[in-house]
Symmetry: D2
Subunit: 434 residues, 4 copies
C-alpha cells in the first residue's frame, strides 16, 4: 500500500474544546503532527500579547492548526462527488490546512516588522527544506511538498483548494474566530459553523454558499467584525505589542552599536544581521524570547531594561486617542517635551494604528485580494453576498482605522509637580484620554 | 481613608471564560494582581505536562488564582450576617484565595520531588519576605501578611476562613475542576456551582451545605472523581512527567559529578545545591526551564540530550500496566535486560503510581486530614455527607491506585530483530501493554 | 410590617434554563405568580404557531414573564443610588415586568386581528379589575394597581421606569431574544446580557449605556435582526398563522350566518359578537382553542373542517414570493382561477406581509415611537447610538418588508392534469416559488 | 425505485436544540413524521406534570421522538460493516426509534393507572391498525409494520435491533436525559454522547462499549441517577400527578354513580367503561384533557371542582415524609381525622411512592429485565460494566424508594384554631414535614 493511501490502524482523536474532537485517519496527517517543526507550534501563542488583556488567551498555534485541519476535513465530506476529485487532492487540502501557519514564530507581528521577515517565507522553507515535515510529505510523492507550499502560497492551479484556507470564509478564519472567542471568553465569535459547512458547495473553482445559508454567513461576518475590534485590536494588547516591538528595536540598536550584553543574545544574532537561517528561526520559540526578556530586564541599558521589565511584569503604557490628521502639532510638541524630560520619544511616545475591512467584494489590485463570497441562488445563478444581504451591503468596503498614542503614564506621574513639562504633557494628553 | 477600606474608583473586571467575569473592587486585590510575583504566575502552566495530552490545557496558574478569588468573593456575599465578621476578615479571605498558589514554580510536582522543595514554603516566603506582595499586604496592617500566610498554612484560628480555600469542597477545587474541564474540553468537571454557593452556610467554624443542595454536591464529587482519572492521572501526561523528572535527575547528577555544560545552568545551580533563595526561585519560570531544555537537547551527555529532546518534541515513553505485588520478578528481569542493551534503567524503566481518594470522612492522623462535608438538615442538625448520600457512601474511603511502567518503546523497536534481549523485553511487556 | 416591605421568610428560586435561576424575595411577587390569572400564562405559547416550524418552541408566556421580571430585578441592583428611588418604585418596576404580557391570549396576533381586540386592554383590565392579581397589588397600596397599569401603558410619569420594559433595549426584548433562541435552538439570539446590564446607567429619565458597552449593544441589535427574519417571520410559521386566522374568519362568518355547529362554540360567542367580557377572555386559553379546532375539523362546513384539520395535523399552505407592486395582475388572475376550481380565494389565496425596522432613532409621530438608545460618552455627554456605531448606522431606519402568497399546493396538485386551470395556476406560481 | 430505497430529493433538517440538527434522508421517515398520529405527539408533554415544577419543561413527545430517531441514525453509521446488515434492517431501526412512544397519551402514567391501560398496546395498535402510520409503513413491505411493532415490543428476533431503543444505554434514554435536562435547565443530565456513540460496537446480538469509553458510560449512569431524583421524582411534580390521578378517579366514580355533568364528558366515556377504541384514544390529547379540567372546575361536585381547580391553577398538595413500615398507625389516625373534618381521605390523603434502580446486571425473572451493559476489553473479551467500574459497582442493584404523604395543607390551615383535629393533624404531620 502506498503511503498516500495509508490509513491508521485505528482512528486517532484529539479532544478539542472548540470542535469537540479532531479526527485523524490518514497516516500522513498523524506523522506531520508528530514532527518537531509542528510540535514547535505548541511553544508559540496563537494571539501573541493578547493574554495580557484576556487572561484566558494562552492557547498556542498548535491548537489552532489542528482546528483548521478538522474544519477542512469536515468540509471535504461534502466534496466527494466533485469531478476529478481524488484522494491525493484531499490529502493536499488536509496537509495545507494543518501546515498553513507552520512558519509563524513567537510574536510574529513584531518580529516581522522589526527584522523585516515574512512568516510565509518560513512556512514555505520548512515545507520545502531539510525538515521532518518535508520528509513526511515526500512520502506521498516527490512533488507533494511543492504542491502544499503552492496551496498555502495561493498559487496552486485549483483555486478551490486554495480557497479552503484563504478566502473571506475559509477554515482558517472559521477556526480562529471560534477558538479565540472560546479562550478569551468573550461572547462574540459564535456563529453556526455546522450550518455553513452544510451549505458549502464546490462550484467550478470556488466554494459557494447556498442562498438558504445566507443568514449564517451574515452572522459569521458580524462575529468577525466584533472580534477584530473587541479582541484583536484591543488597546491593551496593542500596548503590550508596542513595548515588545520597542524592545526588539532597542536590542537591535544596541547590538548594531556594539553594546556588550551581560548574556550573549546568541539566538538573536542572525536576526539582528537580517540573515536568518531556517535552523535559527525554528529554534527561536516563545520560551527563548521570554528567557531573554528576563535577562534583558537586568541589563545596564536603562531603556532596554525598563522596557523588558515592563513586558515581563505587565507595566504597560497607557494610551490616548490620536487623530493624525488633526493632531500633528500636538504630537510634535509632545515629542519635544518628552526629550526635555529625558524620555526618548522614539521608545516612549508611540503611535499605533489598526484598521479592518469587515468584508469586501473583489477589487483587483488592492492589497488584500480575497475572493468575495458568492451565494448559490435557487435558480443556480451565483450572486455576490453584499448584493443579497442588506447587513453585509451596509458594512461592505467600509474600512475603519483607529489610531492611539501610547506612553508611560507612570513615568510622567512621577515627575515633580513643579516641572512645567509635566503639566504641559498632561494637558495635551488629557484631552484625548479615555 | 485607611488602605484597608479603600475601594477602587471604578470596579475593574476581568473577562473570564469560566466565571464570565472576575470582579475587583478592593484596592488591595487590584494592587496584588499587579505585583511581579503574581504576574509571574502567567508563566507557569496550571496543569504542568497535561498540555501534551490535552492540547487545550495551556492555561496558567494566573488564570486559576483569579478564579479562586472570584469564587470566594461570591461565597462571602452570603456571609455578611455572620457574627464578628468584619471587613478585614473579608479581605483576609480574598487575599488568601488570590495568593494560595503563589509559591508554585514550573512543573512543581517534579521539581519538588527532585530538589526536595515544598511550594507552600515559598508561598509563605513570598508573602512574608521582601516582595511587592508583602508590601501591598502590609498596607492593610503590619500583622496582615502573617494572617494571610496562616490561612494558607491552615493554622489560622478561624477554621471557617481556612476551609474556604482548603476543605473537601473549597473554592480551590471548585475552580480547578471547572477550569481544567473547560480548557481540556472534556465533558466531565461540570456541576452546579451556583447552586452550591447558594446553599453554603457558615455554622460555627465550618462551612456546611444545606441538605437541599446534597445532589449538587454529589455531582461535584463525581466530577472530581472523573477529572482525576480522566485528566489529572492520564497516562500520557504521566509519561511526560516521568521524562521531565528524569531530566532533572540527570542534570543534577551531571552537575554533582562535575560535568561541564555547554551553556552554564546558572538558574539551576542553587537548586542542585538544595540551597534555593527566594530570589532564585522566583526567577525560575517555565520559559527559563524550556529554554534550558532546548539547550540540553544539544548537550553531549546522551541521556540528558535524549530526554530533553523527547520532552521538547513530545517523543514520550510508552507504558504497560504494572502490578508491584505480582510483577516484581518481571521488573527485575527487565531491569537487567535494559542494562544489557545499554539503556540505563534508572532513566528508561520507570514505575509511576497515582492514587486518589474520592471522598473521605475525617480520620485523624491520616495523611490528608481534610474536613468532611457536613449537611445542614432541616431540623438544624449536622450530618456527615456519606451518611446521607448513597452515592457518596458507595465511594467513600475507597482509595484507588494505578501503577504503570514507562519505557522508550521506540528504542526497543530499533534494536536488531536478532538480539535476544529485544524479544525477551517485548514478551514481558506485551503481556501488560494496552 | 406593611405588605410592601414584606420579604419572604426564605428566598424562592425557579430553575430557569435561560437565566439559570429566577430569584424571588418580595412577597408581592410570590403572590402574583400564584394568582390564577398569572398561572393561565402557562397555557399560552410564547411564540404562537412557531412550534410548527421549530419543534422546540413550545415554551409558554409564563416562562418569558418570569424571565423579564428576573432581568429587571438584576438591572435594579445598579439603581440603588438613584435619587428619589425608593422601595415602592422598585416593586413597581418588578410588578410591571412580571405582568406586562398578562393580557395575552392564545395566538394573540390572529385573535386580535379577527376579533378587533388589543391584548394591552386586557392586561390593564386584569390589573384593574376584580381579579386575584388586582387584590395582591392592592395590598401594596390602593393606587398601586393603577401605577402598574400606567407603566405597562407607557403613560407613567417616570419614563425611566417605563423604559425598563419598553424601549429599544428593554428587559422584554432581552429576555425573548435569548429565550426564543434557546428553545428554538437557533444559534442567533445570543449577546452578552451580563455586560449590557453592567453598563446600564440611569440618567435623568432614561436608561443609557456606557460607551464602553457599545459593542455588546451592537451584538444585541444584530441578534434581534437575525431573530426576526430567521425565527419570528419564518415563512412556515406564517403559513400556520394564515390558516389559523382563516379558521377564525370562517367560524365567525358561519356564526354570523346562523350556521348550526355540532358542538356549541360557547367560549367563542362573545368574541363573535365583539363584546368580550374579562371573564370570557381569561377562560379562553390554548387548550380551549385546540379542543375546538379538533371539534371543528369534524364539522360539516368543508372550509372550516379543512382548515381546522390542516392546523391540527400540520398540513400547511405552501408559499410563493409576491411583489404587490408588480404582480397585482397575476394575483387577480389567480383569484379568478381559484374561483373557477371552487377554492374560495378569500380562504385559500392569502397574501401575508412582514416587516421589521431593526433600529431607529426617534421620529415623532411614527407608529412605533420607541426611544432611541443613548450612549454615555467618557466626557459624560449622551450620544445617540447610530451616530457612534458604524454597524447600527448602516442598518438604521432601513425598514424591510417581505410579502408572500400562501395557498394549498396539495389541492392544486390533486386536480386532474387536463384541467387547464391547474396548468395556468402552476405556471403563475412556479415563477415565484422557492 | 421501491419505496424502501427512496431517498428524498434533498435532505430535510429539523433544528433541534439538543442535537443541533435532525437529518432526514429516507422518504419513509419524512412521511411518518407527517402522519396525523405522529403530529399528535406535539399535543402531549414529554414530562407530564413536571412543567408545574420546572417551568421550562413544556416540551412535547414529538420533540423527544425526533431525538431518539436522530441518535439511532448516528449510531447506525458505525454499523455499516455488520454482517447481514441491509437497508431494510436500517429502516426498521429508524422507524422503531421514531415511533417507539407513538401510543403515549396525555399524562400517560395517571391515565394508565386509573383506566387500566397500557400505552404500549396503543403503540402497537397504531402501527398495525387502520392509520396513516400503518399505510406509510406498508409501503416498505407488507410485513414491515409487524416488524416495527415487534422491535418496540422487544420480541423481534435480532436483539441488537431491539437493544438500540430498549437497553440500559439505549437511544431513548440518551435522548430523554439530555433533552429533559435542557428544557428544565438543570445542570445534571449531561454526558459525552458523542464519545459513547463512537465506542459503541455491534457484537453478535448486542451493542457493547469499548472499554476506553467506560468513564463516559459511568457519567451517563450518574446523570440518569441524578435526573431521576432531581427531576422525574421531584415531590412537587408528584403532587400534581397525585391531584391529576384523583381527578380521574373522581370523575370515573361520578360517572359510574350516574352523576349528571354540566358538560357531557364525551371523549372520556369509553375510558370510564374501559372499552377504549383506537379512534377515541387518538383523539384524547392534552388540549382535550385541559379543556375538560377547566369545565370540571365549575362542576357542582365539590371534590371534582376543587381538584380540577387545583390542577389548573397550581394549588398543589403539600407533602410530608412517610415511612410505611413505621408510620401505619399515624396514617390510620390521620385517615380518621380527615374524615372527622369532612375531607375525604381517599382524595385528600395520598401516599405516593417512587423508586429507582440506577443500574442492574441481568437477573432473569425480575420485573425490568433490561440487558446489562458490556464492555469490550482490549483482549476482545466482554466484561459486565459493574465488574470493571468501581462507581457502578458501588450503586449497582441498590434500589432506592421514597414515600411521601400528600394532603391539602391550605384546607387544614383554614380550619378554626380551636378545632382539636386541626392541632392533632398538624402535630402528626409536622414531625415529617420538610
Amino acid at each position: 500500500m502506498a503511503y498516500k493511501d495509508e490509513k491508521l490502524h485505528e482512528e486517532k482523536v484529539f479532544k478539542d474544546p472548540v470542535h469537540r474532537y479532531v479526527h485523524v485517519r490518514d497516516r500522513v496527517i498523524w506523522d506531520l503532527i508528530g514532527t518537531k517543526e509542528f510540535q514547535r507550534l505548541r511553544r508559540i501563542k496563537q494571539l501573541g500579547t493578547s493574554f495580557l488583556t484576556f487572561h484566558g488567551a494562552e492557547h498556542s498555534r498548535f491548537n489552532h492548526s489542528l482546528g483548521v485541519y478538522e474544519i477542512v476535513r469536515r468540509i471535504l465530506i461534502n466534496f466527494e462527488d466533485r469531478p476529478n476529485w481524488n484522494h491525493e487532492e484531499r490529502l493536499l487540502c488536509l496537509c495545507a490546512a494543518l501546515l498553513h501557519d507552520l512558519g509563524h514564530g513567537p510574536f510574529s507581528h513584531s518580529f516581522e516588522k522589526v527584522f523585516k521577515l515574512d512568516h510565509e517565507d518560513f512556512t514555505r522553507a520548512i515545507i520545502l527544506g531539510d525538515t521532518e515535515v518535508n520528509q513526511v510529505l515526500t512520502n506521498i510523492s516527490i512533488e507533494f511538498p511543492q504542491k502544499v507550499a503552492d496551496v498555502i502560497n495561493k498559487t496552486y492551479h485549483d483555486k478551490l483548494v486554495v480557497s479552503l484556507i484563504s478566502s473571506q470564509i475559509d477554515a482558517d478564519r472559521m477556526d480562529y474566530l471560534q477558538r479565540d472567542a472560546y479562550f478569551t471568553g468573550v461572547s462574540y465569535g459564535h456563529f453556526d459553523m455546522e450550518r455553513i459547512l452544510r451549505v458549502m458547495r464546490p462550484v467550478e473553482d470556488q466554494v459557494v454558499i447556498k442562498e438558504s445559508g445566507m443568514h449564517a454567513v451574515e452572522d459569521y461576518i458580524m462575529s468577525r467584525y466584533q472580534m477584530y475590534w473587541q479582541v484583536y485590536f484591543h488597546p491593551v494588547t496593542r500596548s503590550a505589542e508596542v513595548i515588545l516591538t520597542k524592545i526588539l528595536h532597542r536590542v537591535k540598536a544596541l547590538y548594531d552599536g556594539g553594546y556588550t550584553f551581560k548574556v550573549e543574545p546568541t539566538p538573536f544574532v542572525s536576526f539582528f544581521k537580517e540573515e536568518v537561517s531556517l535552523e535559527d528561526y525554528i529554534k527561536l520559540d516563545e520560551a527563548v524570547v521570554l528567557y531573554y526578556f528576563q535577562m534583558w530586564s537586568e541589563e545596564d541599558d536603562p531603556i532596554l531594561s525598563d522596557l523588558a521589565y515592563r513586558f515581563i511584569n505587565r507595566r504597560l503604557f497607557k494610551y490616548a486617542e490620536f487623530n493624525p490628521n488633526l493632531q500633528m502639532n500636538e504630537w510634535m510638541e509632545l515629542y519635544q517635551l518628552f526629550r526635555d524630560i529625558d524620555l526618548d520619544p522614539d521608545y516612549y511616545l508611540v503611535v499605533d494604528s489598526s484598521s479592518d475591512l469587515p468584508y469586501d467584494f473583489y477589487r483587483p489590485g488592492e492589497e488584500e485580494e480575497r475572493l468575495p463570497i458568492h451565494l448559490l441562488m435557487p435558480n443556480k445563478e451565483l450572486r455576490e453576498l453584499s448584493r443579497q444581504s442588506d447587513i453585509v451591503e451596509a458594512i461592505s468596503g467600509k474600512k475603519r482605522t483607529d489610531h492611539k498614542l501610547y506612553y508611560p503614564k507612570d513615568l510622567i506621574e512621577k515627575l515633580p509637580e513643579d516641572r512645567p513639562e509635566k503639566q504641559q504633557i498632561k494637558k495635551i494628553l488629557h484631552k484625548q484620554e479615555s
